[in-house]
Symmetry: C2
Subunit: 1018 residues, 2 copies
Amino acid sequence: MGKSLTFQEAILRLNQFWADRGCLIWQPYNVQVGAGTMNPATVLRVLGPEPWNVAYVEPSVRPADGRYGENPNRWQQWYQYQVILKPDPGNPQEIYLDSLEALGINRRQHDIRFVEDNWESPALGAWGLGWEVWLDGQEITQFTYFQQAGGFALDPVAVEITYGLERVMLPLQDVRGFTEIEWLDGLTYGDVFLKSEIEHCIYNFEQADVGRLTQLYSLYEAEAENALERGLVIPAHDYVLKCSHTFNVLDARGAIGVTERARYFARMRELARAVAEAFVKQREEMGFPLLAREQRSRGAEEQGSKGAEPLRPCSLAALLLEIGTEELPAGDLDSAIAQLEERAPKLLAEARLEHGRIRVTGTPRRLVVYVEDLAPRQRDEERLVKGPPAKVAFDQEGRPTKAAQGFAKSQGVAVESLEVRDLDGGQYVVAIRVEKGRSAAEVLVTLLPDLIAGLRFPLSMRWNDTNVAFSRPIRWLVALLGDTTIPFEYAGVNSGRTSRGLRPLRSPEIVIQRAEDYFALMEANSIVVDVEKRRQMIRQQADKLAAEVGGQIPDDPALLDEVTNLVECPTALLGSFDPEYLKLPPEVLITVMKKHQRYFPVARQRGTESTRQQGQRRLVDSELIDLLPYFIAVCNGDDHHLDIVRHGNEEVLRARFADADFFYQADTKKTLEEFLPRLDTLTFQEQLGSVLDKTRRLEQSVPRLSAMLGLSEAETATAMRAAHLCKTDLATQMVVELTSLQGEMGREYALRSGEEPAVAQAIFEHYLPRFAGDELPETRPGIVVGLADRLDSLVGLFAVDLKPSGSADPYGLRRAALGIVQVLAGAGISFDLREGLREAAALLPVAADDKAQTETLAFIVQRLRVWLLDQAFRYDLVDAVLAERGHDPCLAYQTVQEFVPWVECDDWMNLLNAYGRCVRIVRGFETEFELRPGQFVEPSTRRLYQAYVSCREQLGPQSSIDQLFTAFKPMVEPINTFFDDVLVMAEDRSLRENRLALLQRIAALTRGIVDLTRVEGF
Amino acid sequence: MGKSLTFQEAILRLNQFWADRGCLIWQPYNVQVGAGTMNPATVLRVLGPEPWNVAYVEPSVRPADGRYGENPNRWQQWYQYQVILKPDPGNPQEIYLDSLEALGINRRQHDIRFVEDNWESPALGAWGLGWEVWLDGQEITQFTYFQQAGGFALDPVAVEITYGLERVMLPLQDVRGFTEIEWLDGLTYGDVFLKSEIEHCIYNFEQADVGRLTQLYSLYEAEAENALERGLVIPAHDYVLKCSHTFNVLDARGAIGVTERARYFARMRELARAVAEAFVKQREEMGFPLLAREQRSRGAEEQGSKGAEPLRPCSLAALLLEIGTEELPAGDLDSAIAQLEERAPKLLAEARLEHGRIRVTGTPRRLVVYVEDLAPRQRDEERLVKGPPAKVAFDQEGRPTKAAQGFAKSQGVAVESLEVRDLDGGQYVVAIRVEKGRSAAEVLVTLLPDLIAGLRFPLSMRWNDTNVAFSRPIRWLVALLGDTTIPFEYAGVNSGRTSRGLRPLRSPEIVIQRAEDYFALMEANSIVVDVEKRRQMIRQQADKLAAEVGGQIPDDPALLDEVTNLVECPTALLGSFDPEYLKLPPEVLITVMKKHQRYFPVARQRGTESTRQQGQRRLVDSELIDLLPYFIAVCNGDDHHLDIVRHGNEEVLRARFADADFFYQADTKKTLEEFLPRLDTLTFQEQLGSVLDKTRRLEQSVPRLSAMLGLSEAETATAMRAAHLCKTDLATQMVVELTSLQGEMGREYALRSGEEPAVAQAIFEHYLPRFAGDELPETRPGIVVGLADRLDSLVGLFAVDLKPSGSADPYGLRRAALGIVQVLAGAGISFDLREGLREAAALLPVAADDKAQTETLAFIVQRLRVWLLDQAFRYDLVDAVLAERGHDPCLAYQTVQEFVPWVECDDWMNLLNAYGRCVRIVRGFETEFELRPGQFVEPSTRRLYQAYVSCREQLGPQSSIDQLFTAFKPMVEPINTFFDDVLVMAEDRSLRENRLALLQRIAALTRGIVDLTRVEGF
C-alpha cells in the first residue's frame, strides 16, 4: 500500500471520478444544512422528469450530534460527499465501488457491505429505500433510491449516494478519530476544525439565546412564505433551510417542548412541500429544458433478446429462475423465499406443468427457484363447452339443427362430435375441446414474470422508467429450462443465462450453460446459495472462533438469521476490544455489537455445562452474562486480507464503545431524577402531551392500581417511586442513542443514583415483556407500573383515534395489549380491565368516553384471544369464556384451563344439551318474566325449581367452571324430565310465563362465568 | 488550441494546482458571504503569526449587483476562487501566472497586466495594496497584499488572490456572457443558475420584507455579541456574516436611510473587530500551534552573497541600481523617479563620490538609477578635531603637556602634528585628520540601501518578515559598479547582477555583466526603460492606428502618462465596438474607455485642422466630441497573438457598454425628479443628514444667494429648480456606477426629462470646476447652486469637526474651497463669504458657531492664497490684501492685481515708509485715543491733519488700491514733515495722546483694503 490520500486529495479524487462519469460538480451550499440532501441540487432537482447528475461536497451541520470534539467520529459538523444520479444508470453500486477504488479502497481487501437502511424525512415529505454501506463494519456511505420528495413521487427515481468523508478517511489513513485525519501534509482535520467544533457545541448546547432563535425561526418562515407568494423558489428554499437549522439549534439547546415540536415539524413540512410544488411548476413552465438535452441510451441488452422463440426441450429438464438484485433486506429475503415456495408450485400446477422437487433459496443478491424434472409440455386438457339445449340442437329425427351446426362451427369442432350431457338440471349439447399443452418454454415466458410480479414486500421501491416496484432493484434475470433460456423482460431487464459473482470479486459474469449446472457453478464461485447451509457455516465458524478464546456464542437465532441473510459467502472473524470497556453494562456492549454491528458477542464458557444450555440464556439478563473482550463478525467473501478487515472492525467497535462510554459518563454525572424535567421535551403524543405529562398520570394512577391489586404499603411506595422515574432514562444520552436499552439503563442508572434496588427493578420491569418470548415482570411494583403505563397508552391513543389499523401500529399498541395479557395471566393476577381503563381514562387530558373504553377493552380481549389460541385451547371454549370474562385475563385463563376437562367428559353433551334446551326456548323473549315459585303445580316443574334453587345457591359471578358444572350437573335430569312432562308454551299466559321465568333463571346461571351458547355442539 | 476547459474542470484544475503548491483546499462557507475574504479561512486566518496557505471556491453574493441575469458579466451571485498565501512565498505573481497557464491561458498569447487596485473594507477594519489582473482588458483577478484585518496589522502579511471564475471563463471559452459558460459538457452556467439569479434579484430588489430583515439584523447582532461573551469566535463570526448579508439585501432593497447606514457600518465594524480580537487571543492561548508546524525556507539567495568583500574598481565606472518590483502604481512610479532624481546626487555628494550624469528612469517593474563615471574612491577629507585650550596643551616652554599627548594619542596623530587655531573665541589645539576616501564600492554598500529606504509613497505596504515598507514588493536588486556587484541586502532581497525580463516571456533572468551594458541589454530584451521614449512610442502608435480609420486621439496627457507607466513594452492595438453604442452620451463612452479600461477613445478627424488643435479640446465637453466606434488599447509586450488580445478587449468593452446601456435604459425610464426620494438613502454625512437633506438646504439658500448676487427673477427660478434637481443623478444607476459622470448625467437626464436647458446646464455647472484645469461655470444659476453647495459642505463639515487634516480630505473640502475661489474670482463676482457662511450655517441641522465659521473662512482664504500665489503674485502683496479682503475672493483678486503696479513704482518705498512711520509708533497702544483737532498747535501737525481729512474723504472700505494710494500719496510729505518737526511722545499726556490719535487714524486708512504692514520693506 502506498501513502494514503489526504483528506483534500480524497475530495479532489472524488470530484474527478464523478466528473469523469458525467456529473456536474456542484459546490457546497451557502446556507447551513443538515445534509447534502437539503441542497437544492438534490432536494429540488430530483423532482420532475429532467435528468440530473451531480456531485458535491457538503458540510453537514447537526447541532445535536455535537460531542465537543471528544468523540472520535461524531461531530456536529462534518463533510458529506453527495452524488445524485437521475435516472438510475443501471449499475450505480458498481460505479460507487469503483469510486472507492479510486480512493484506494480495494474491494478485494475489505469487507464492503450493503446493509439495509431506509431513509425518511417527514419534514421534507421524502423517503427512499437503500442501504448503509459498511467498510469493515464502519458505515461510510448512505445509498438510497429516492422514491419521494416534497410529497411528490419521483419519476424517474434518483439514486442518492452520500459518503461520510471523514468516515471514509479513518480506515484509509488508519487513524482513530476525526482530529487525526491528515487534511494535507502536516495539517490535520483537528488543526483546522477542532476549535470551532468545540465552540459550536458550546454555542448550541449552552449559549444560544432561545428567545432570539425562536424569533429568527418565525421571521424565516414569514420570509419563506413571502418569497413563495412571488413564486421565488430558491429564495424561499433558503429560508426553509434557515428554519430547519434554527430548529436544530433550538432542539440541541433543549428548548423544544412537546407542542412546539409537532408544530415546527408541521410548519416545515408545509413549507417544504410548497417549495417543491413551486419548483415543479416552474420547471414545467420552462418546458423541462434539461429533458431535451440528454437522451441517454439505457438498458443494455442481455444476451437473450426479447421475443425470440425459445427452443423447446422435449424431455424432462430442470428449470432455473435466478432473480439478481441489489442487496435485499434480510427480512425481504426470508419473505420472498416463503412466497416463492408457496406460489411457484401453485403457478406450475395452474399451468399444468408437471415437475419434481422445487427448491427455493437465496442470498442477499439472488432469489433462486429451481424446479427439477419439469415436463417439456403442459398436460393436454379437455374442455367442455356448453351449447344449446339438446331439444333445440337436434330435431325430432335426431338430426342436428342449425343451432347445433352453428355451435359446432363456433367451437371449431365437427358437428358429429357434439355430445349430450346432463348439465344444470337439463340436457344440453356440449362440445369437447382438447387443448394441446403448449411447450413449457412457451408457458414459462409469461409464467416466470408473473411469478416475480407476484412478490410483495412491506416496503417496495421503483428505480427505473418501468416503474416496477420491488424490494430493491433487479439487475439481472437468469431463466433457463435445461440449456435453453426462457426469454422475457421484466423491470427493464431481459432474462438470459448470465449471473453475477461475488462483490469482492467485482461481481464477475457467470454464464450458466444448463440449469442443472447452477448449484455446482455457484459453489465453484464461492457463493453459498443455500440459506440453511450459510446458517450452519456461520454457526460453526463462530463457535470455533469463540472456543479459541475460551468463549462461546450466546444463542441468538434472530441475529443468526439476519447475519445469514447479509452474506453470500460467510467468513467469520474474531476481533477483540479493550477489556476496559467491560466495565460498561453488558447490555450496552451487547446492544452495540448486535444492533449496530451485527456482531456476535462472546461470553465466557461456564465449567462443563453444555454450550447448548448456556446458549439458551437470555441475552438481556445482565446478571447471567459474563462477556469476554471479543466479538465475531461475519464477512462476505473469503479470508483474503482478513487482517485488514479485522482491524477495521475493531476500530469501528472501539469508536462505538467510546461513544457509549461518553454517554455513560455523561449520564452518570447526574442522578436519574435530574433527567425528569427533560421529559417535557419528549413528545408522547401531541394531544396526550409529553412523556412528563404521562409520568404525572402514572404517578396518579399507580396508587389506585396498587390498591386494586392489593399491594402492601411498602410495595406501593416502591411502585410510586418507580412510576416517578420509570421514563427518565428516555432523556439520557445512552437511551436517546440506543433506544432498545430503555428500562435496562433506567435500572442501571437508578441503582447508581442510590435508588432502592426494588425501585430500580420496577423501573426495568415495567417495560416487560418487550417482545415475544421476553421475560415477564416478577415484582408487583413492576407489574403495577407497567400496567398503568400500558393502560394509559391504550385508552389514550384510542381516545384520540390512533388505534392500530392494518399493519400500522406506530405506538406498539398490540404489544402493549399483549403485554397486559401476559403479565396478568402469567402472574395469576386477577384484575378487572374495565375498572383499570376507567381510572386511566379519567386522568387523560382528552375525553375518553365509554365507547373509547369499550373499544380499548375489545382490543385487549382480542389479544387475549390470540394468546389463548396460541396455547392450543379450543377456539369455542376461548370464545365462550371471553364472552363473560374477557375483562379479566387471569380469570379468563384459569376458566379456560378448567373448562377443558369438562368438555372432554363423556357426559358433556348431556349437560350441554340440557342447558341448551333451557336457553333455546327462552331465547326469543326479551322480557324477564316474574318467577312465582308458589304457582308451579306439576311435580317435574317443582322439582326443577328445587334443583335450580339448590344450584343457584352454590354459584356467583366469580364462580369457577368447576363450581358451575358441579352445581349444574344435578339439574340435567330434572331439566330433561321437565321438558318431557311439561309443555312450556302453555296457552295460559300466566302459566307459560312462569315456566319461562324458571328457564330464564336457569339459562342465566352461567352468566359472568361462561357463555355456553358459543361452545360447539350447542 | 484544444477544447477549452469547462467551468467545473477549471475549478478542479485550480484545486489541483494550488494543492500541488501546498495549499489546504478549503470548502465554500455555509453562510452567505459577499466575498471569499469573509470566509474565516481568510479574514480570521490571516491574523496572527501562523503560516496559512489555503485555496477554495466561494460563491459570492452581492445583492446590489444583480441585473436580473441580463448583464453578460455582472450577477448578484458568482464564484470566486480564493487563495491565501501567508507568508508571501516570494514569487506569488509568477505562481499565479502559472495557475493561469494551468487553465490554458498562455501568457505569451494574451495581454496580462497587473493594474493598481487597492482594497479597503472599513467594515472589516481591513485594507491592502495590490492590483486588478487584466486579461486582454478584462479584470479577472484581485491580487492583494493584505496589510491589516480586523483592525490588526498583519505580520506576516498575507497574499490574497481572488479569481473571478466566470470572468476567467469568458475569454477561455470565448463566450459572451455568464449564461453561455459551459459548466460541463452540454450544460451551461445559465441552465444551472439563471433562474435562481432572476429569483434572487426579484427577492432582493422587490420582495424582501424590510421590517423583517431589520429585525433579523438585530437578532444576528445580539447573537454575535452573545457568542462573543463566551469567546466563541466562529459562532460569532457566522452571525457577523449574517448581519452583513442582511444589510446588503436591505441596501439593495433601497431600505437603508442615512442614519441607519452609518450606524450599521459602525456596528458591523465593531463586531468584526471584536471577533478578530477574540480569534487572535484564542490562537495565542493555544500557543499558535501552526507556527511550530511549518518552518519554511525563505529568501532564495541570489548570486551575490551578502557581506562578501567587493572588488574595487580603480577607474571611473558606471553605477547601476535597478530596483525590481512587482507592478508599481503609475503615480508611485513618477514619484519614485522624482525622488531618486533628487536624492541620488545628494547622497553621492554627501558621500564625496564624484560622478558624471545621472539618469533616473523606470517602468512598472523596475526603478533605474544609472550614474556615469563614478569615481572609484571618495575624495579624501581633512577633519579638524578640537583639543584642549592651547595654554593647557603647551607648557610655558611650548612643550606639549600630558594633555596634548593624550589628545594626540586619542586621535591617532603624532603630537608634533598638532596645530593651534582660533576657535570659538579662544585658542585651541587641533588635530588634523585626513580621512582617506574609502572605495566607492564600500561606500555604496550602505549608500544604495539608504537610497532605496528613503523613498516614500502615499500608500506603502509590507510583504515579508523584514517589515520593510514600499509601494509594492521588491523582488530583485541589481547593483553594479562597472562589472562588480555591490552586495547588500534590502527587504530580504540580496543584490546581484540578475534582472528580469518581460512578463509575457515568463520574466526570464537577464544577467548583466557590466553596468554599462544595461540599457543595450534592456533594449535587446524589448524593455523600454525610458519613460519618455515609451510615451512617444505610445503616442505615435496610437496616432497611426487612429489615422487608419480616419480618426485621431483627443489629447489627454493624464491618460497618456498613466498608460506609459503601465507597460514595459508598449504595443498599441486598434479595437472596434458596435456603432450602435454611439447613441449613448459620449461622456459615458469616454469614461468607460478611459477610467475603466485605460483605452484611448478615437474621435473623427475634422477637415484639415491640425490634429494638435483638435486634440486640445476638452474631452468632457460632449458637444465637441464626435466619437468613432474604435478604441486604442496599449498592451505590454510585442504583437504576438495580437488578434486574441484585440478580441478579448473588444469583448470586455462590449460588456461594459452593455452595462452602461442597461443603466441608461433603466435610468431614462424615470424622470430625473423621480430619483429625488432615493437621495434620502444616500448619506451625505451622518450628522448633516442625507443628500436629500442637503438638497432641501440648497433649496432654501439658493434664493438668498441669488438675491445677494443680484440674479434676475428668471435666473433665480432656474437656480431654484437646478438646486432641486442638482443631486438627483447621484441616485441614477449610471452615476452609482460611474461616479465621475455626476453632473454630466444630471444634465443629460434633465434634458431628457423635459427640464429647461438652462436648468440642465446649471445642474451640470454646479459641480464645476471638478479638477485642476477644469472649465468654470458660465451661467449665474450654475454659479449660485455650486456656491450654495460648497458653502453648505464646508461650514457643515467644519461644524462637525471634519475639517481636512494632513493629507486626508475625504470630503474634498480643499477642492470645494478652491472651487469657490475660482468661480468667484474667475467670474468676477464680488461676494462676502462671511455672509454666505452665516446663511449656510443657519440652515444646518447642527450648530455652526462663529468659531466654525471663522475657521471655514480661514480655510477658504488659505485656498485663495494658494491660488493667487500660483498666479505668481508676490506673497507679501497677497497676504497684505487677504488680511483685509480675503472674505471676498473676487475683490481680493482685483486688489492684488491693482497692487502690483504700485509696488513697482519708484516712489513706492517713500509711500510705504511714510505710512510705516505712522503705524509703528502707534502699534503698542491698544486704546483708541480721542482726536481733538482743535488742540493741534504745530503747523506740521495741523497740516497733517488736513491731509488726513482730505484723504479720508476719498476713501471707504470698498475703495480700490488705486483709490487708496492716489488718496494717500499727498500725505507722504506731510507725514515726513510731521515726524521731523514734532516729538510725538511729548511728556504732556494730552498732547501726546492727541498726536497719537491722529496717527492712529492715518494708520486706519487702509483698513478694509490692504494691510501694508505685511508688505516687504515695511
